[in-house]
Symmetry: D2
Subunit: 258 residues, 4 copies
């Protein structure tokens, strides 16, 4: 059969990225408490394509992935990127996986345990050297300082999402990034709160009002002070309880504090 993908291409246009997207695959992730955790990922894989080739061989992405026998361990991404470069004869390979990750939490008073889910992302790019970004989206409570200050009683509060993305020079647990976000929040979230816990988180949130701007700054400060982190971006988005739109803030990378 003719290998159409290997045909010469005369349009003289290299392609930055070509590959497969939105593939589902079971993965295993390192878990600080339980060693490993089974979860299910969305996977994107792509490579660059020089100007003289008409197409890439899409099935090779899947062959590389399927060599990992029903479950991909997340720390194999470096190896997979090298295999992508080799087998697809590319100068750059990229892989992105997104997955839900569960952490057992203890309610603040009753100590009742429950599982909280955090959406994570792990993205690797390999050219001459590898570049990895780890990310986690942490849902939290924020309580509005302005509403508290002005109002005789009460203050509007809401579920918010803090999105942290980091490049590191040493291993960082997902759990550590989650803690940075939850320690900065008006209150962490829990799947299970008994009555005494609900009282505690309500009062804690009221005592720690945070603007969306405060959230990104407080998380950024913690990332600034963590020597393992060499780049970061932090976003926060509040599903405002008094509006039907969201409040949003973002800081990327300054590392301004020596």
């Amino acid at each position: 059969m003719v290998d159409i993908q290997n045909q010469k291409d005369l349009r003289n246009l290299p392609i930055d990225r070509v590959g497969v997207k939105n593939l589902r695959y079971p993965v295993t992730v390192l878990d600080r408490v339980n060693k490993v955790q089974h979860t299910v990922a969305w996977v994107n894989m792509d490579v660059n394509l020089p100007h003289h080739f008409r197409g890439t061989h899409m099935s090779r992405f899947i062959e590389i992935l399927n060599a990992h026998h029903r479950e991909l361990h997340i720390d194999k991404i470096g190896t997979i990127l090298q295999q992508m470069k080799d087998r697809l004869k590319a100068e750059e390979a990229r892989m992105e996986i997104r997955f839900p990750y569960f952490i057992e939490k203890h309610a603040p008073v009753s100590e009742a345990t429950s599982l909280m889910e955090y959406q994570c992302i792990y993205c690797g790019v390999l050219t001459h050297r590898p570049d990895f970004i780890l990310g986690v989206d942490v849902p939290i409570t924020t309580l509005c300082p302005c509403s508290k200050e002005m109002s005789v009683q009460g203050a509007h509060n809401q579920r918010s999402i803090v999105r942290i993305r980091v490049r590191t020079n040493a291993f960082v647990w997902i759990e550590e990034l989650v803690e940075y976000a939850e320690q900065s929040a008006s209150s962490p979230l829990y799947a299970l709160l008994k009555r005494e816990d609900e009282k505690a988180v309500t009062e804690q949130a009221y005592a720690r009002p945070m603007f969306v701007e405060d959230m990104v700054r407080d998380v950024a400060l913690k990332l600034e002070n963590d020597k393992r982190i060499v780049w970061y971006a932090v976003e926060s988005e509040n599903m405002e309880s008094i509006h039907n739109h969201d409040a949003y803030a973002r800081i990327e990378n300054p590392k301004t504090i020596p």
Copy 2:
């Protein structure tokens, strides 16, 4: 050309519904203040298919719709259902359109105006006689009565969605259903609130705590007392500010109060 859709089918299985789904179309809706409002809808249209026909003629759905010249007026749905029955030789025709609808609101103290968006749905089924359901999803604030009662200060609150669906024996404005939901809420939402308004809605919400159960009951009571409404379903869903899951309640149709 052979008309494959008209071929005899020997499997002896009638099809309940066959048609087109997820079509986008501009629509015009009656607006209580501004007479008409232009918006953009998602449209589903389908009919039943007797057991002896192999297929329906999908293009006829679109022809019927496109006769409405770049913009469909929502009160034409009855006519369209009849055209669907006639042109597709069906015993039952169904059409569902979902669209965003905007209402100008005034902030409670400053009277500053802003537009709020509400997702609406209009669904018609025609067999021997027509059956219409009107629906609107109203985002509101709910403040937790339990959290308020137990806590020294503050109370958790959040954005919630109230979903109302009604069958009526007389005309009902979208605006009236929105009012039923907003009057029952701890507070309505607004796109624009100045500082004095934010104080007012915070204090109002604190003064009117509502469980998700309270919300569906209070809206249901208003629908019970509206003589034009002959059937209803009310759901409420709270994006809990202290959890990463939602609280949910639903009442359908009782009309228990004579």
Copy 3:
């Protein structure tokens, strides 16, 4: 502390369903080949609430779930429903879980293996006796019979989704429902196809053109003939490659063939 949820309610309106929604939880599912499979679910749980109680105790849903230690086995749903009825003093309990499920497939010629993902749903309701529905969404290829018949060469084809829901009187594997859909399709889908496989599936699809109406009828016939299945609904939805809307068909329950 006052138990606000247990307060008397005077609105005289029972609530059909009240509970938690969109909770994420790790689950284990029976796997025909590998015994069990780890995956991650979306969970909804609710109960009815008599007219004289103001609220339900939402935390009890989570306590019941969390007793299952970091991973819920899907065949525990019957037990959980009974616990929900008991602990929440309800007459009706309902639980719905949705999860991705993976099946290893062999390409038709090369026999190359790869994992395909299928979205599943398992829904249980317990009043006096339990009622369970199992469902699976199977992505497949459909090739248009009309386009093939009319055109000198080629025929439009597309990815479609077949949604099967069944009530059964005996155990049915997810894998069996997947096979019913894939055997009815113009072609099954595969994550990995080598060149010889791509030729085979292209030619098979061209040889087996299927309208959306054909799909639901052929799957329905297989479900009619399976004595373990006592009720079913089948939908098919084609992401038409020549339109930007979808074609849709649905059959529910007839069991017309004796």
Copy 4:
């Protein structure tokens, strides 16, 4: 009342972007045939915040928007960005609006007219000078060259999305970008095709097989040759009819052809 947002902030961290997100608003867009078109947008607006301010005044974004009386004309975005800079005392202002846009199309043989919807995006950033990006997502058909070459009959094909983003030095119609994508495709899509049209588009697609790589290159060539376009990015994503994942390609900006 204390102006909490104006309080001094001592964390010494400027914020790159702070504002409102996911706001819905009616907009008017220039239409090549009908002069203007009414549609409904998603709106994001944000500004930078210097390190010494604690918070921004979120309500001002909405006040600026609401000055546009129930409908925002898209060519007012430049003015709005300047107002955002002025009223929020910012060095950088950004606004992004996404909206569905309808174009009337004529079927290739019958000339039957129907409306097709295209998702558009318009994004402006103003620092010292303004920077605008116009984008449109065009759904099309792609037919696989490899599948056609290898198979005795037929070829797999599917719905694909081409995403074009451009910076320009002169006015460019949305309609022109749509044409670039549709002229490059195996076939454009239509909402309404009669039987003779379905035959024509099937045969055209079979005669013009296109890889996802071909799509991005052919669109990129057209953008290279359009002197008004000074930067571009083109993506294409195929909802593969033989897989449950998508094929993807992207080219950004080369302008390599002199």
